[in-house]
Amino acid sequence: MKKILNDPSNLVPEMVSGMVASYPQYIRQIPDTLAVVRNDRAFNEKHAPKVGVVSGGGSGHEPLHMGFVGQGMLTAAVPGQVFTSPTPDQIYAAVKAADQGKGVLLIVKNYSGDVMNFDMAKDLASIDDIKVESIVVDDDVAVEDSLYTQGRRGVAGTVLVEKIVGAAAEAGLDLAALVKLGKAVIAQTKTIGVALHAATVPEVGHPGFELGPDEMEYGVGIHNEPGYKREKMVPSAALAKELLGKIGGHFDGGVAGKKFTVLVNGFGATPLGEQFVFANDVLEQLKDAKADVIFTKVGNYVTSLDMTGLSLTLLQMQDDQWLDYLNAPAATIGWGDSRNER
């Protein structure tokens, strides 16, 4: 394992400290925690109270979630250890820091650990009379869904949910409206990922699984969870076809004539150039399928340490307002420039 680190078990605190030291215009650390909260003037000086939006989860997915804290997106974020859900006390501290008297919305990725820890934090906050609601992102269609199972994982689509809900909170929507919006967006968000090389958790020291020199894992999770099949590498266009086929099947009646946001998300060690080659194939094929792509993002948003690979997310844009929320300004480390009007 070759990594630029000091003590691997100290990765998270040092990373958080590096983030707040590098970008104090966006975030600061909540005392006695690893969590971060907005540090801009509008927030610090309580210009106009809004619903707080808080997310979090295991570390190793940077810029998610801390890189999306800032005016127009998340109010606070809570990192756990690498690939390990944060604990309720940390989440609770973030909820308290994010609350402006209008309640707090938790954006949780659908993993047992995350769901339980966020639930316990909600219990803690209820004692302080902070209104807390949560929505659970489960966009990974590589996984079978059923009433009797855990359901689908939350993966790269989370960043789109955070952007839309964050912008809506900034626009002044109340807690109930945000819950409704978040659930509607999640229902239209479908992701699937592929790995060329698994991630190495620093404290483990070797990749989570081994792939042959010409193999690819289809449907991989963002914590090295195995996917639905392992096959020989195919060219980018064939990969785009496979993933679009899998995802498209989850939109009733297919993709034709519908409006979409497309997210091509690098897993951490995939060059941006390759991501654009893949995006090119995806956008061409969607055009051929008569789908209407109205917003696109390509880059590393929800990573998996040093995993090589990428995921494709389609979000069916059921409401014109959603595009406005995607295009609204967001002063964060990771979302990028927001003047995305076409």
Partner: protein
């Protein structure tokens, strides 16, 4: 159960977890994300520190102290689950229910409720629930515990991270069931 027994229990369990850290993480690598051993080891170090720093006056506070360490240091799924188990035992102890069968039953119920899992879902609940019943029947012993743990192997996971594997989860022990088995065996040792 009394405070001394709880302390002995935790000392034995911490040693057991430390010894089996890599084994637990390996089990979790096969059908999860490979951190269960590290999570539990980190948690039990915190438990030992917590009991050291803040000597518990009574059984309820001992359990509460342990619960807080687990909840705030383990993270992942195991943290809230084990944390809830000890929190429920703290509540029971507070209201006087300090006998082991009763403690295990409230703990098992708490775990099942927190995780929403039933027996057969291939989680630690598969050990907690029947073990509590065994204890009530005076049948809680190492052999029975091993049986419960091993019984998770042929199952298909329906809850937790292993459930994402579907069919592929079959044929592997559930890591949380294994660490629960260790917890119960060290309980027997500490209270023998």
């Amino acid at each position: 159960m009394n405070v001394e027994q709880v302390e002995k229990w935790m000392t034995l369990y911490q040693a057991e977890v430390e010894k089996n850290k890599d084994y637990l993480s390996q089990l979790d690598t096969d059908i999860g994300d490979g951190d269960h051993g590290n999570n539990m080891a980190r948690g039990m170090t915190a438990v030992a520190d917590g009991l050291e720093k803040d000597k518990p006056a009574d059984l309820a506070h001992a359990f509460q102290n342990i619960a807080m360490s687990l909840i705030s240091k383990v993270g992942g799924a195991a943290g809230p689950l084990y944390g809830t188990a000890f929190l429920e035992m703290a509540k029971a102890a507070k209201s006087g229910g300090t006998d082991i069968p009763n403690l295990l039953q409230v703990a098992a119920d708490g775990v099942a409720k927190r995780g929403g899992a039933k027996v057969g879902d291939k989680t630690m609940v598969d050990v907690w629930e029947p073990a509590a019943k065994d204890a009530q029947a005076g049948q809680l012993n190492d052999a029975n515990i091993d049986k419960l743990v091993d019984a998770t192997k042929p199952l298909r996971a329906l809850k937790g991270r292993a459930s994402y594997l579907g069919e592929r989860s079959i044929g592997h022990l559930d890591p949380g069931a294994v660490s629960t088995g260790m917890l119960l065996k060290t309980l027997l040792q500490a209270t023998a």
